[in-house]
């Protein structure tokens, strides 16, 4: 692959997301969810957060809230 092509590909945007945890919930409970409801996840506050591209795990990290935004810092790469 030429350098020019590689540069073009490297500039492609990728959707990333940070997963906090997972939960399996019955439809009945899902229907009953409303403002104020509490949903318990399968993770602990001390666990790392997962950085994903689609379903592909890229790494793990920590989050902190800074001025209403979330700063995600990588602590481990996949």
């Amino acid at each position: 692959m030429s350098n020019a092509n590689e540069n073009t590909i490297d500039n492609v945007s990728v959707d990333l997301s940070v997963r906090v945890g997972k939960v399996s919930m019955k439809i009945g409970k899902l229907k009953d969810l409303k403002e104020g409801s509490i949903v318990e996840l399968d993770t602990q506050a001390s666990d790392s957060f997962e950085l994903l591209a689609g379903e592909q795990l890229l790494g793990k990290g920590t989050v902190e809230e800074v001025d209403g935004k979330i700063k995600f810092t990588i602590t481990e790469t996949a």
């Binding site: 540069n7 590909i9 490297d10 500039n11 492609v12 945007s13 990728v14 959707d15 990333l16 997301s17 940070v18 997963r19 906090v20 945890g21 997972k22 939960v23 399996s24 919930m25 019955k26 439809i27 009945g28 899902l30 229907k31 969810l33 409303k34 403002e35 104020g36 409801s37 509490i38 949903v39 318990e40 996840l41 993770t43 602990q44 506050a45 001390s46 666990d47 950085l51 994903l52 591209a53 890229l58 790494g59 989050v63 809230e65 800074v66 209403g68 935004k69 979330i70 700063k71 995600f72 810092t73 990588i74 602590t75 481990e76 790469t77």
Partner: protein, 277 residues
Amino acid sequence: MFIKKTTSAEFESQQQAIAMRGFASSIGSKICALTRGNLSIPMVPSGKLDLATYTAKEYIENVSPQIKYKLGVQFDESSFIAIGFDSEFLSKCSYYWAGGRLNAPEKHGLAKATSCEIAFLRQFMQLIHPVITEELNKHSEVTLEISELDDNGVAFKNDQRVQVNTVNCTFKEEVVKLSIITSDGVLKYCNLNSLDENSTKISDKTNLSELNVNLDARFEIFKAKLGDVKNLKVGDEFYIPTSEVSLINRSDNSIIAKGLLGSDDTNNQLIQISEKR
């Protein structure tokens, strides 16, 4: 794995037989109630419905002559629906109706109707005619006219089948039979599936609320250049514009709800829902 093979005619016939069950059950119950209320015969439906399917030949030669009295409607040259009963039904009911309280005397199926039976037959037919009309019209888009039906005039096709649902009815020590008869093709004119037990939705029979959905809790999606992703290393930072967390259905990535992240006394991660989609 073997897949059962069937012709489309057989399949339609089976579908029709299934569709008839609710209708037959409903009409059987109503005729019994009318008979109790108006003719003082304490008739109740009993046991399960019996379903039999016959070729047109079997039906015309063996079944139809037994079910001597029929009320119904013929939709086209070969499709009809009828409610019928045999000489035994007439004999036993009329005997009780006329005051007989011992077992009704046995009577040969082809014997002529007595004057008492004819009188009962007239009353019984008048009584059930409007009910059968009403019941059939619940399932039809056009208004159906019910009359005594002579199925000798039906031009059966080669592979046509006739389904007979039999409702057993009892009073005192007697058991009599009501037959609900359809020939293939009736469902085109009369949707027997509607309003009957077969129209019950699966959600009425199965508790779908118990099904599990797998959800992800994720912060809002953000974008990065592929080049940056390829070179990710410990210490790299990304900023996500909002602290809101979405509950996402993993099967189709749809957002079910949004909320704020927190934790409880035992450090379990929690989401407090702020918006339900």
